[in-house]
Amino acid sequence: MQILLNCLSLTSFYLCFALGLALVFGVMRIINFAHGEFFMIGAYATYLCISTLSPQVGGPVAWAIGAIVAAAVTGLLGLVLHRTMVVPLGDKPLAIFISTLALSYVIQTIVVQIFGPVGLSIAPPMRGVVNFGGAILPASRLVVIGVAVVLAAGLWVFLMRSEAGRRIRAVAQNPRGALLQGIRTEKVGRLTLILGSSIAGICGAAMGPISQISPYMGAGTLWKAFIIIIVGGIGNIWGAVAAAAIFGVLDTLMSQFGAGRFLALTSAAVMLFVLSVKPSGLFGEKE
């Protein structure tokens, strides 16, 4: 039971982190290297909100405000990114990748200047542990699971039910066809990037309280998200969900049985194996 809970908790984190990246990648075929930094900014925004507001309104409310602020700030960053880089460099995925990589250093440096390079910790908005038939789960981890479920379900409903979601799916499947149907792909791209970035920010808000926050926290997690996207499959958001679950379970089991030090190696081995067998990923379609 404890193992199951741990699996769930880790899967939720991977899912949260990879979801925004997979959305942007799946729809626009671009990789935002600064996604990790957006995540980090979300965590810092939450930190600021909690440390200033929690005496007045209490921890949980301050955290909720922090999450909204985080989403707004990172969404705005996504908008700026779309304007300044994605639109001008539209047909050059490599140029976008490298300029977002450069952007990630710019953001990192700025955050180091403001908050210092040392990690900070956020006071958890929810204290205590929850008991599940003998297994325990800290409440703040429950928040992460909740956020992941809400995000994934919300995104699913949005993509499947709403008009904007339908447009996004059309562009993801066939950008040229969508254009012919009168869908303004640039607008869809902007919405997607704002959405994906906001998800990164919310994820930062959720993760901040359970781990130390530092200017380098995004970069350290990003490679795992890359592996998840690759294994999940090109342009397939639900593939990323499945891959997050696979690694959530695999990594928890490995740590449980004392093989935690080989995590990176196994993750990479799984990725390379999947690439060898099916270069387009487990759930990807061949391009």
Partner: protein, 310 residues
């Protein structure tokens, strides 16, 4: 003057400039030049990989293979001469690239840089986790300088060695670039489907570029290790990878002079902002973004200009 000769001249001039600079410059300058020379090897070998149309993000991790090979092979029980160990390090790096090329080279553009990035990061984790061999986070210390130098502790002599290796590898890469294989590698980089359709084995040539480029990275890693006297996972940092990529982006990769000038530019920024090193990555980043956006803008203007004059 043919492109091949121009590349040879670039490499020889760079080697000569390093040595001359070493003789006239201060001690501090000497250190900068050694780093510049070693990074030049990285950048030139990286350029070779980019000609096949893929930007690898595993170059620095592969460099680490060279560093660890030297650290391990030059000590007992192997006790190989440092230079021999360095060459072996280059070969190990090439071998690793060969193994990696089967899965990784099946991927294209975004997938290629994602998968190389992840593979490189995993390799770095391996250096940390296999403590019995690699010494974990603290790495392996007390690596000797090459015995071949009359005075191993002299930085000037080491600089001459770096310059010599740089020129040798530069000649190798320049001739590869102008050779039959090099022309085909560039053809694959330009249009893979067309190249396959006329009988070029695209996969083999991409693998060739990746393997031979990684050989240079391994050699550079060996030089870094013996110069610093220590290898550790912190050598394999994202900053250095970014520096190499940025040099190629800012300078362009068509000819050898591009990445070298790009690297020179980055090094100048690094030295100008020496008192506030924490800002260097940001300034590099800003210049990379400017270079990319400006390049795009300039290409657009050029097309408009051509259309008007056609």
């Amino acid at each position: 003057m043919s492109a091949f000769r121009r590349d040879l001249m670039t490499v020889c001039a760079l080697g000569a400039a390093l040595v001359v600079g070493g003789f006239v410059g201060s001690n501090y300058m000497l250190g900068v030049l050694v780093l510049f020379g070693m990074t030049s090897i990285l950048v030139l070998s990286y350029r070779t990989i980019t000609t096949m149309g893929g930007w690898s993000f595993a170059h620095i991790a592969i460099m680490g293979i060279g560093g660890y090979s030297v650290a391990i092979l030059s000590k007992p029980p192997f006790g190989l001469p440092v230079l021999v160990a360095t060459v072996a390090g280059g070969l190990f790096a090439a071998l690793f690239a060969a193994l990696l090329s089967y899965p990784v080279l099946r991927t294209r553009q975004y997938y290629f840089f994602l998968s190389t990035f992840a593979a490189g990061e995993a390799l770095r984790q391996c250096f940390i986790q296999f403590r019995e061999i690699t010494g974990g986070t603290s790495g392996i210390a007390f690596i000797e300088r090459p015995e071949i130098l009359p005075n191993p502790s002299s930085t000037l002599e080491f600089l001459c060695l770096v310059a010599a290796v740089l020129v040798l590898l530069g000649i190798f890469y320049a001739s590869l670039d102008a050779s039959d294989a090099g022309l085909k590698i560039k053809a694959v980089g330009e249009d893979e489907a067309l190249s396959s359709s006329i009988g070029i084995d695209a996969w083999a040539l991409r693998a060739l570029a990746f393997i031979l480029g990684s050989f240079g990275a391994g050699i550079a890693g060996g030089l870094f290790a013996t110069y610093n006297g220590i290898v550790s996972p912190s050598d394999i940092n994202a900053m250095l990878m970014f520096k190499v990529v940025a040099a190629c982006v800012i300078g362009g990769t068509t000819r050898f002079s591009g990445p070298i000038l790009g690297l020179l530019f980055l090094t100048l920024i690094e030295e100008i902002f020496r008192v506030v090193p924490e800002f260097v990555p940001m300034i590099w980043g800003v210049f990379v973004i400017i270079a990319i956006l400006f390049g795009q803008w300039a290409r657009g203007r050029l097309m408009v200009w051509r259309a008007k004059n056609a």
